[in-house]
Amino acid sequence: MKLYFKYFSIHLKSQMQYKATFFLNFFGRIVMSFATVASVLFMFTRFNQVDGFTVSQILLCTSVVSMAYSLAEVFARGFDIFPRLLGNGEFDRILVRPRGIIFQVLASHIEFLRLGIFIQAVAVLLYAIPNSGVIWTGDKIVTLLLMIFCGAAVFFGLYIIYTSFAFFTTEGLEFMNILTHGGREFGRYPYVIYGDGILKFLTYIIPLALIQYYPLLYLLDRAQSKLYMFMPIISLLFLIPSYSFFLIGLRRYKSTGS
């Protein structure tokens, strides 16, 4: 952990070398990331609800998913751009250093610029919290935090799977976008609106619904069971298969080196 903070501060230091450009881009990203929110708001000038969710409840959902995604993007950036690490030899350097591989990939890139989306999501969340009709109690706040942080972990798991594929091919990786970018982009609405099939897929295969739809029901008092509150924790199981994929990919890399 101490070493991670070393990396953290050195990343901060090097990204702050160009302060003007950094802040310009940072605010650019905040503005930019409002496009998704704008599309939601535009839709709700014509419709009052979708599947019984009001605009503020939808925005609650949008912001939680954006926050989770952007945390993964900022802190697991090394996995997101993994093909680049393979291409420029950075990964070979990681292999000749006496530390865990996952740790080093995580620490190798931290992109503070992408916190812009997080800031935007916080702003939307602050609007949604009082307007969504949620009666905020201690356990609701815990639920919200679980959604955000476990959500980041699920997206992280998706990045690890992406990385595992990157060991095999560098060109066919685009299909993972439907899960990573798609998970965020379509996560602006509760996953239930896409129908039963999609919801099942996002419950049992890629557990994004566990950090979004089910705990959202708990927040809105549509489900009383504590199980819904702790669904995000169950989603963490997803990291087990992701990590196994990673190990398979790594073995393959070590035998082909390409």
Binding site: K6, G89, R93, P98, K254, S255, T256, G257, S258
Partner: protein
């Protein structure tokens, strides 16, 4: 002690074809080629040895280095470095080695060098005393003083390479792998780097394995040479042995005024340009002194120089000889 025995490694590579029709065809079926990157490679290197590992591009140099670093696992064969199999005990193994990839940097681009060094210290869990000690020594030997406060992006290539080498040695490894450490450097930096490596080897007994295309590196540094071509070790011996292996031909450069001298048996004219001749000479047919006498009798010589085969020519000759 490094021992490699009967290492084999094969890669499968997709073949790219030229032309529009073929590009379309390749969409549906693709041909693959098997590349035998390493073919029954065996050698051993004793502690404190300095070895030059040479061969043309794609001969298998970096594959071998990657296996010794634990980055790659071979298809078959054994590799043992100080009692460990590199790819099985990665972490323990990499603590004992230092690696410099000549064309790839491990330094942080935008922060002062010293920050990179301190991070590397923490990665290797080097204790403060050892770190201080090796930093001081490296700073002195590689003349890093002022550079430590500068970010890598503002350093020249030569300065950066000195810092790269230092970064790989902060944890005092027993073995140092250098992959083309002098590539792209200016003459002064090359000499500085070579002197340092030599000193490191003699004073600390660090085992050094060096791949390079620069034969001056080899001449200046290594006692022993491993020549690899098409995945096989072709030669393993000292530079002198290799020189003996190749021909003893000499090159004569002659400058003259007036009529151009003619060559006699044993001399081959390589180049002629206003008042200057370059001749290769086989001393077994015609001794050098006789050749000069012959030329001097034919024309007015203003300058004569004789040189033996350079390491570069020698390697080129070896490559030809082994068809690699």
């Amino acid at each position: 002690m490094i021992t490699l025995s009967n290492i084999n490694k094969t890669f499968r590579v997709a073949r790219r074809q030229a032309g529009f029709g073929r590009a379309v065809k390749a969409l549906f079926s693709r041909e693959y080629e098997l590349i035998h990157a390493l073919n029954d490679v065996s050698f051993s290197i004793k502690d404190g040895e300095m070895v030059g590992y040479i061969g043309p591009n794609g001969a298998g140099k970096s594959t071998t280095i990657k296996i010794m670093c634990g980055i790659l696992t071979p298809d078959s064969g054994e590799c043992n470095i100080d009692g460990r199999v590199p790819w099985r005990e990665r972490i323990a193994h990499v603590c004992e080695i230092g690696v410099v990839f000549g064309q790839r940097s491990q330094l942080w681009w935008d922060v002062p060098i010293i920050d990179s060094f301190e991070l590397i210290r923490d990665i290797y869990k080097t204790d403060e005393k050892t770190y201080k000690n090796s930093l001081d020594e490296l700073t002195m030997l590689l003349d890093l003083g002022e550079l430590l406060k500068t970010p890598a992006r503002s350093l020249s290539l030569g300065q950066r390479m000195r810092c790269e080498i230092a970064a790989s040695l902060l944890h005092k490894p027993k073995i140092l792998f250098l992959d083309e450490p002098t590539i792209g450097l200016d003459a002064v930096s090359k000499i500085a780097v070579r002197q340092f490596i030599k000193k490191l080897n003699t004073e600390h007994g660090t085992t050094v394995i060096l791949t390079t295309h620069d034969m001056q590196d080899i001449e200046a540094l290594t006692e022993r040479i491993l020549l690899i071509g098409k995945g096989r070790i072709l030669l393993d011996g000292s530079l002198d042995e290799l020189k003996k292996h190749s021909s003893s031909r000499k090159t004569l450069v002659v400058e003259y005024t007036g009529v151009m001298p003619t060559t006699s048996e044993g001399m081959t004219l390589k180049e002629m340009k206003d008042g200057r001749l370059i001749i290769t000479l086989d001393p077994e047919i015609l001794p050098v002194s006789d050749a000069i006498t012959h030329l001097a009798a034919e024309a007015d010589l203003t300058d004569v120089s004789v040189s033996g085969i350079t390491a570069e020519e020698m390697v080129a000759e070896l490559y030809r000889e082994y068809h690699i």
